[in-house]
Each structure stands twice: as C-alpha cells, then as structure tokens.
C-alpha cells in the first residue's frame, strides 16, 4: 500500500453562493464517499476541509501578506490523505470525491 494526498480544488464563489440545501447535500456526499473509498479497498488516513482563501495568510521570507500563496480560480479547499494499492486504485477513489465545480489532484506521498 502507498499513501496519496487527494487535493480538492473548487470554485470558492460557488461554495459561497451555495444554498443551505446544497451545502447539506455536499456534506452527505462526502460522507458517502468515505464509505465508497473503503468499498474500493482504500483507506482514509486523514481528511480536512479548509476555510476559504479569504482567511489565508502567506509568508514569503519575512514578508507577511493577506491571501493565498497563489491566486487561482479554483482554490485548494480540502484534502483526503488515503492509502491505496497503486495509482489506479487511488485514481478510482479520486474520481468519486464530490466537488461542486472543480476537481482533484492526486499526489503520491514521498517515502524517505
């Protein structure tokens, strides 16, 4: 088994505009995803959602600035750290991650 970080990139404006019902629907979808992940033979090691980039603070050298490190239309909004047998299994899991408008990036964890 190997560990992969699934990074969720989504449209923050869409999240901000989401109705309470939609919000609830997404939360439930994530709950379902966690079950599906296990059914596919994977394991969620850790996961978190992040506050929007409007709350982010960046530090470069000594300089502290308001905002995310890189401005992008679809911002990093959360992650799943999963365990999977190989990239194919990790991708099968990643395809099921619920997002509003964006997508996910799968990165293998470096093994030292």
């Amino acid at each position: 088994m190997a560990e992969y970080m699934i990074l969720l990139f989504d449209d923050e404006a869409a999240w901000a505009a989401a109705s309470p019902e939609e919000y609830d629907r997404m939360l439930k979808a994530h709950g379902r995803f966690q079950e599906q992940c296990v059914e596919l033979g994977g394991k969620i090691v850790n996961s978190n959602a992040l506050q929007p980039t409007s709350t982010a603070t960046s530090v470069r050298g000594d300089v502290v600035t308001d905002g995310p490190f890189a401005e992008t239309k679809e911002a990093l909004g959360g992650y799943y750290l999963v365990e999977a047998a190989d990239l194919d299994q990790a991708l099968a899991i990643a395809k099921l991650v619920p997002v509003l408008k964006g997508g996910v990036e799968v990165r293998p964890i470096m093994v030292f």
């Binding site: 190997a2 990239l87 194919d88 799968v106 293998p108 470096m110």
Partner: protein
Amino acid sequence: MTPDRRARRDAPPDPGLARHDPDPSEAAAAEARDAVADAHRREWAYVLAATARVAGDLDLAEECVQDAYLAALDAWTKQGVPNSPGAWLTTTARRRALDICRRQRTLRDKLPLLIDPEPANEGLDSSFAPPDPFAALGACLASAGSAPPVPDDRLRLIFTCCHPALAPEAQIALTLRLVCGLTTPQIAQAFLVSEATMAARVTRAKKKIAAARIPYRVPEATELPDRLRAVLAVIHLVYTTGHTDPTGTDLMQRDLVACAIDLARMLRVLMPDEREVRGLLALMLLTDSRTRARTDEQGRLVLLEYQDRGLWNREQIEEGMSLIPQALRGGRPGRYALQAAIAALHAEAKTYQETDWPQIVELYDVLMRVWPSPVVALNRAAARSMVYGAEAALAEIAELEQHGFGGAGRSTGLAGYRYLPAAKADLLRRLGRTDEAVAEYRAALSLTEGGAEREFLLRKLRELGAEERLGDSADSYEE
C-alpha cells in the same frame, strides 16, 4: 548507477564490435550481427517485458537488456546463433538483473516497479514481492533457462507506457523507447526536439511510474476499452508522425512507420478479440500501401486522385483487407475499422472516378457518429462532392462552419482548422471559381508549416495562375 553504464545504455548494440573480435570467421560475425539486429527488432519488447518483471525497475531492466544484446554479439559469433534468440536474450538479461538485484539489496527501497504477484507463474512473479523479494531467487534462476516469459508481459509493458497518468508525449516516448527499443537520440530526431529534452521527458516519465506507483499490469475489463483506446492512439500517432512527412528521404520516419505497424501486429497477436486493434492495423497497412505513389520523383506530394495505382503495395493491401471483415463485425464498429474500410474501398478502385463513392459517403456518415471531428467532417464533404457535386459539398462545409457539428450538447466548429481552407479551395477550383480558390489556397498556406504541404499549396496556386506574393517564406520553395 555508474556514469559509464548510463552512457552505454543509450547506444544501440554496435554491429562494429564484432569486428574487433579475434574470432576468425567473418561469416559467423556477420551472421551474429544480422541475428542481433533482427532480434532487436522482433524481440526487444518481449525480452524487456520479461526482464522488467525480474528487475522490478524499468531503468535496470533496460540496462540489462541492452547488456544482453551486446553479449549476444560476442556469444553468437563464437557459438553460433541459438535456436531461440529471444529466449537466449531473455535468460541473459534476467540473470544479469537478478545478479544486480542480489548485489544491490538497497534496490528494494528504491520505489520499485509495481508488479502483481501471480502465483500461477511458477514463482517467477513473486520474486520481487515483499516481504522477501529474494526468496524465490533460486527457483527463478533455475527456471530462467526453460520457462517462457508470461505471454502477456509485453501487454503489461505497453499499458504501463501508455498509462493516462503520463503526458501524451511521454507515452509516445516511453513506448518507442521501451517497447520498440529505439534510442533516445532516435526518438528526439523523429519528434524534432533536442536529445536533452527527450531524455528528460523519458526520465521524468519513468520516475513518475515508480513514485506514483503506476502498476505494471493489464487493466481490468471495466477499464480496458478506455485504456486500449489510449494505446491505439499512441500507435496511430507514431504512425502518422512517420507518415506525415512524405519526402521518404528520412529513414527515421520510415522507422516510425515500421514501429507502429509492428506494435499493432504485436497487439493483434496478444489481443486477438479486440476489433479496433485489427482496424488500426488494417488502416495503417492500407495507408502505407500507397507510400510509393504519394510523392513524385521530385519528392512532391501527389494526391490520391493523381496517384499511379500500379505503385501501390498489393501485399499490404491484401493483408489490410483480410483484417477488415472481422474488424467491422459484431456491434458498432470503431473509428479505425471504419477508416480502414474507407481506405479499402480506395484500394479496390481501379481509378479515382470509379471509386465506390456512395459507400464511402455512407461509411463517413457512420464514422461521424462514432468519431465526430473536423477531419472526418471535411473528408465526408469531399466524398459527398464526388456523389452530389462540388456545389453541394461547399454548402455543407458552409453549414458546418456556421453551426458546427457533433452530438447533442457537444458542438465543435471548423474555425481555425488548418485543412478547412484547402478543402474549400479544391471545391472552388473544380467549380471554376478561380479567384475564391486562390484566396482559400493563400489562407491554407498561412496555416501550413510543413515543407511538402506548403510546396503542394504553392503548386496549386501556380496552376491557377496566381503568383505567390508571400515574400521571404516562399523563397526556399522555388523550383
């Protein structure tokens, strides 16, 4: 890895080496050289795929296979060419891989190639499986001489090379390098990039295979259609890259065509039930059959309409045609089978005019549903012009330009498609609308960079009595 090894890995087996051998018989050396060259072309993928399974690492496998080919030159000169060169090379390469693995136990920690354990395979497969990768070593060495490699190892290799997680250009580079055995300088030359760029591309792809754990296996049935499509797309692109420059002077381009056809033949043997594999092989054979007629003595492009059909390669045509019935049968045919069927109708026709155009139009209609794309839309319009006239075809193109094409919710336009003005120009020329034709040929010229295609458009302009006024860029194409 030591630097000298790295340098040697990029060099093809040097036929000249055998000449420095003190062994007297020049004939034996020549025979060995030929056999090694032949085995390089025929058996490379087979040997590498089987070695990768033991080495557990593509880099190491490649190095060991390269060494085995070098060793073969010497051994076959002295002892004669073995009955089964592929088995000899496989055994030698695998022994070497096992030797190195044994010496560098640290290799285990180096993110090895991910190989499925398959207990059915006499312990060979488990030789690299944790917890003790070397438990089966003895059995493996003992059987290495006799046991044939698992038949689908080459399939694993090609599916790994064409994994969708790799960039398309990396898929092509890896396939040519690992499955066809081309060297990095050869591939760089064919794709017009520097050797350093191509080497970096290959290295990066291999690193990703190991680090992201792209598995060394044939995809499961549910994924197979998509994954096979990717493999076929790579093979087709290798072919078109070789085929597009029709000057025929560049040997490398012919090598690419040969590689693509070899790959499709290999897949056909390994996946005999896949209809699109047949379709693609048929399409490439039928297209390739016209190679000698595609250019004239001056190396200029000759369109299908004006080709000397006596120059077409009948052997390739027959082989291509024999594949088509089964490629079309059983459900909706795929794009390659349909394109091959269209190519077959051209191959059968005595002249351009006597071609079965109505059937070609029908096939394009089906193809348009299977694979809606600008190239199909334009080719269909050209075929329709042979049945319904140039006027009708022009109207159809105008309609496509305005409303696009494609299924529901998926509309694709023709705007900016580089073959669009050339297609329109040809129809206008046939209708005698010379001024408009000239304008379209000029538009086509401005979108075209390739030498032979530019030359063709310039020739068309001259035939219409139009002087080319593009200035500098046209100078090099003067006769």
